[in-house]
């Protein structure tokens, strides 16, 4: 099978320019018409530690970070040590030598390209140019389009002065010359440029921020937390342009409280956090359920519990997102698959919150947070904004009046005769406290009942494949992208396999699950958490008995892992 994609992994010490090198390659490839999917890991420390940036690029759509890399570029000995077990025959290995801090053993079949990165940087009297030397070498060795790469470098460095730019370009060309002097012995090369597509290249976190702005938010309350903080950074830059406000709160409890207050006051409002923050917000989410106030919380999941693994990938907040509050506290939970979803499902989540007057939790995860991907550029005119139902000012206003769909119109403060209370106490139609058994039951039916149509409001699930299959794979979040590729490759092997990808996690679209399962002999549920959280919900809410497949090592699945498991359970 011809391999159409190429995976380049750059690794080294945090602060050495690993991340910017990856960003330059990704942007250059995108400008050369390629699809790009990047994956990064970096240390929890501020300075130093192991950092890694992987660029996967292809002319065809990409859904995940790939099984492993084709090309490793090691800036230091640690990068070599961490990755040496993946240096399989055929891999190209570019490394800092001589005068680097290590002398690697080159395994049989690995094609080695020693580049004196540190020495060249030292000769140029600037350690900072080391990554530019590496970039030049990579460009020359693997056909990373030089024209677009230089355009990217010019755009990046021009604001820092002509001297800075020419210095970086000089280092780039030195690296290129060093590589040109070596014998090219591998077959890896980026495809020749094609016309660039109408795309953005954007990280999951920035994409949530962009979705928020496109979705019409006017209030955002932030509290710093890895790996969600960049969402606030993006929103902070742009929200004043649309007359909105971002406040950094004193803690996550204040964030969700402020969002509730702003929403009551009539504005589209949201916050974003990670698991620990969502834990703190639990009580106020219940208040939002009870008072039927629209709020959006984006949870960029990380390794838990406790402080856990703040910079690592995990999908372990599903229990918390669905059930994290006291009492019976209905909400809507959605999960994004990729960076494109981060834009569009943030818009959708805001619409859902406004329409259904309840908390919406949108789950992203650590690997998407920092993964930059090429996504079609959104068109503002094509974005649908759904407003909350507002009282028309006629008759006597009762905030929680029963209605056929369970949705009662809201009244913005300032509306004459619309005065009402938003309350966390159980209440009757007018909002007055009412603890009678029939009332509590009726109000629960209202609050849960209004969510019955959510399944029609959004595209709740996607099915990949037709007819009967031996194995059906149910995946959520960024694991979907891994499964999409595994399914294609398994089919090429003649294995009958289908995929089922829920985006709406709660209320659970049970009918869709059952219909899918009816077409599969076995159901496999891979997810990145210890307990098999989606499997648990499937067993609780459907008649399906899934095979749970879990990993929780802080990194996403690879397609190969899924493929091996499918072959095993056939």
């Amino acid at each position: 099978m011809e391999k159409k994609d190429l995976v380049i992994r750059i690794a080294g010490e945090g602060g050495e320019g690993v991340i910017s090198t990856g960003d330059f390659i990704a942007a250059a490839c995108a400008r050369a018409g390629q699809e790009v999917y990047t994956f990064k890991t970096f240390p929890a420390e501020i300075k130093g530690g192991y950092a890694m940036y992987q660029v996967r690029t292809s002319l065809d759509p990409l859904f995940n970070q790939g099984d492993t890399f084709d090309i490793l570029c090691a800036f230091n000995g640690e990068a070599y040590e961490v990755n040496r077990h993946r240096l399989v025959p055929g891999t190209a290995f570019v490394y800092d030598y001589p005068a680097g801090d290590f002398e690697p053993e080159i395994p049989d079949g690995v094609i080695a390209y020693p580049i004196p990165m540190s020495q060249t940087a030292k000769d140029m009297k600037s350690y900072r140019s080391k990554n530019m030397v590496a970039l030049g070498a990579l460009s020359a060795l693997f056909n990373i389009n030089e024209k677009t790469l230089i355009e990217v470098l010019v755009d990046k460095f021009k604001s820092k002065g002509p001297e800075n730019l020419s210095f970086n370009l000089e280092a780039f060309h030195k690296g290129k010359e060093l590589a040109a002097a070596l014998d090219k012995k591998d077959l890896w090369r980026v495809a020749d440029p094609v016309p660039a597509k109408d795309v953005l290249i954007i990280s999951g976190n920035d994409a949530v921020g962009l979705g928020a702005i496109l979705g019409g938010i006017r209030f955002y309350s932030a509290y710093p937390i890895t790996p969600a903080t960049e969402i606030a950074k993006f929103v902070a830059v742009h929200i004043p342009k649309v007359m909105g406000t971002l406040i950094q709160a004193e803690d996550e409890i204040a964030s969700i409280s402020q969002v509730l207050g702003a929403s009551y006051a009539g504005k589209r409002a949201m916050t974003a956090t990670s698991g620990p923050g969502l834990s703190l917000m639990g009580e106020m989410l219940g208040m939002a359920s009870m008072s039927e106030t629209p709020v959006l919380v984006v949870d960029v999941q990380r390794g838990g519990p406790g402080t856990g693994m703040p910079t690592k990938h995990e999908q372990s907040d599903l229990f918390l997102a669905i059930h994290g509050s006291h009492g019976d506290a209905p909400r809507i939970v959605m999960a994004v698959e990729d960076v494109g979803d981060c834009i569009h499902m943030t818009v959708e989540a805001l619409n859902l919150a406004e329409y259904y007057q309840c908390p919406v939790i949108l789950l992203s995860d650590g690997s998407l947070a920092f993964s930059t991907q090429t996504v079609p550029a959104p068109k503002p005119g094509a974005i649908k904004i759904v407003e909350r139902k507002r009282w028309d000012g006629t008759g006597e206003y009762q905030r929680y009046q029963a209605s056929p769909d369970g949705i009662s119109p809201m009244a913005d403060p300032g509306t004459p005769q619309g005065m009402h209370v938003a309350t966390g106490l159980e209440h009757g139609p007018a909002g007055a406290p009412n603890h009678s058994p029939p009332n509590h039951e009726a109000m629960h039916r209202k609050r849960f009942g209004k969510l019955k149509t959510v399944v029609d409001f959004v595209a709740p699930t996607q099915v990949d494949g037709e007819g009967q299959a031996d194995v059906g794979i149910i995946a959520w979040g960024s694991t979907i992208g891994v499964v999409r590729e595994a399914v294609v490759r398994l089919r090429e092997e003649g294995i009958k396999v289908k995929g089922f990808y829920p985006k709406l996690m709660y209320p659970m679209p049970v009918v869709h699950y059952e219909a899918f399962a009816a077409t599969c002999n076995k159901i496999l549920v891979p997810e990145v958490n210890f307990q098999g959280q989606l499997s648990h919900f499937i067993r609780a809410e459907t008649s399906i008995v899934p095979i749970s497949m879990t990993i929780c090592g802080g990194v996403p699945f690879t397609p190969i892992q899924i493929m091996n498991k499918v072959r095993e359970i056939l």
């Binding site: 990704a26 942007a27 250059a28 995108a30 400008r31 660039a196 795309v199 953005l200 290249i201 954007i202 920035d206 962009l210 702005i213 496109l214 006017r218 209030f219 742009h238 004043p240 342009k241 649309v242 007359m243 909105g244 406000t245 406040i247 709160a249 004193e250 803690d251 409890i253 204040a254 409280s257 402020q258 969002v259 509730l260 207050g261 702003a262 929403s263 009551y264 006051a265 009539g266 504005k267 409002a269 009580e283 106020m284 208040m287 008072s291 090429t374 550029a377 503002p380 403060p413 300032g414 005769q417 619309g418 005065m419 009402h420 209370v421 938003a422 309350t423 966390g424 007055a432 406290p433």
Partner: protein, 292 residues
């Protein structure tokens, strides 16, 4: 609060009463404070539909139900944070926060400094009865150590905090204190708070005859002492000196401090103007920044 909320034809105090009946114990100081709030709202000319009354949980946090306005009865300790969001979303409205000492300074203590230092434009009336009443009498952050209560059968092991000193230190721009037995003074100070553009904090001593047996109406009457006529309310040092009297067995009554400082919403508005913010901003400009 914002001037835009003032109505031309003022309403009477009774017009601010809702039709929900008040549920406090007989002899509770909160009745006096509530009546003072009605008077203050009337005298400040606040349009009920332009007012949001916000509370947390506790006896005094029931107050919004009794006021004719938009209102939020939220969670224990969170009134101030909810109010901050509402105020920033709608700086044209008046925001009144009502709550107790436990709600504000114990469970809600994490929010208090930030409303003060950020100068969020709202009026915070704290009903200070030195006790948790709704849960039947536990000591609070303002209880005196000699108080024997539900969880302090041998007397309290802690020193009380000083709300005025706290608010002055954290940068509140309107700090006052009164006593529920002096509803006229309360009304005057609350009205001043409503009219002040910035974070107004009014601490009002309120007797709890049911559970706080030592801070009686007589105790408070003897405790409070009018702020001296020659006190300069713009002098923070002088205000702090007055506030410190509370630890010496006397408590100032009146306006201690008032300062003009840009409010948080004014600063936010300046940011919007700084980037030429507009409801018709071309979103393509933001999208295009993310091209490769």
């Amino acid at each position: 609060m914002s001037i835009a909320t003032v109505k031309k034809a003022p309403l009477k105090p009774k017009d601010y009463k809702s039709d929900v009946s008040v549920v406090w114990c007989p002899g509770c100081g909160h009745y006096g404070i509530l009546n003072a709030i009605y008077r203050a709202l009337s005298e400040a000319g606040v349009d009920p539909s332009q007012l949001i009354s916000i509370s947390g949980i506790g006896c005094s946090s029931r107050s919004p139900y009794f006021i004719n306005s938009y209102k939020m009865h939220t969670l224990h300790g969170r009134a101030g944070a909810v109010a901050t969001g509402a105020q920033l979303a709608r700086p044209d409205l008046a925001i009144l926060v009502l709550g107790g000492d436990g709600d504000g300074f114990s469970i809600g203590g994490g929010h208090m400094p930030h409303m003060a230092r950020k100068n969020v434009d709202m009026t915070y009336v704290l009903f200070d009865n030195g006790i948790y009443g709704l849960t039947k009498g536990q000591y609070s952050p303002t209880s005196r150590p000699e108080m024997k209560a539900y969880t302090t059968p041998y007397g309290g092991p802690e020193e009380p905090m000083n709300p005025l000193l706290y608010m002055l230190t954290y940068g509140a721009t309107y700090v006052a204190q009164a006593f529920a037995g002096k509803p006229g003074v309360c009304a005057e100070l609350i009205k001043g708070g409503l009219e002040h553009r910035g974070f107004s904090y009014i601490n009002i001593y309120s007797q709890c005859p049911s559970f706080n047996k030592i801070d009686t109406i007589e105790f408070y009457r003897d405790l409070v002492e009018a702020v001296p006529k020659d006190h300069d309310v713009t002098d923070l040092g002088a205000a702090i000196n007055l506030a410190r009297q509370s630890s010496e067995g006397r408590a100032p009554m009146g306006l201690l401090y008032k300062a003009d400082r840009p409010t948080l919403d004014q600063r936010m508005h300046a940011m919007v103007e700084g980037v030429n913010g507009s409801p018709d901003y071309d979103l393509n400009q933001i999208i295009d920044l993310n091209r490769p």
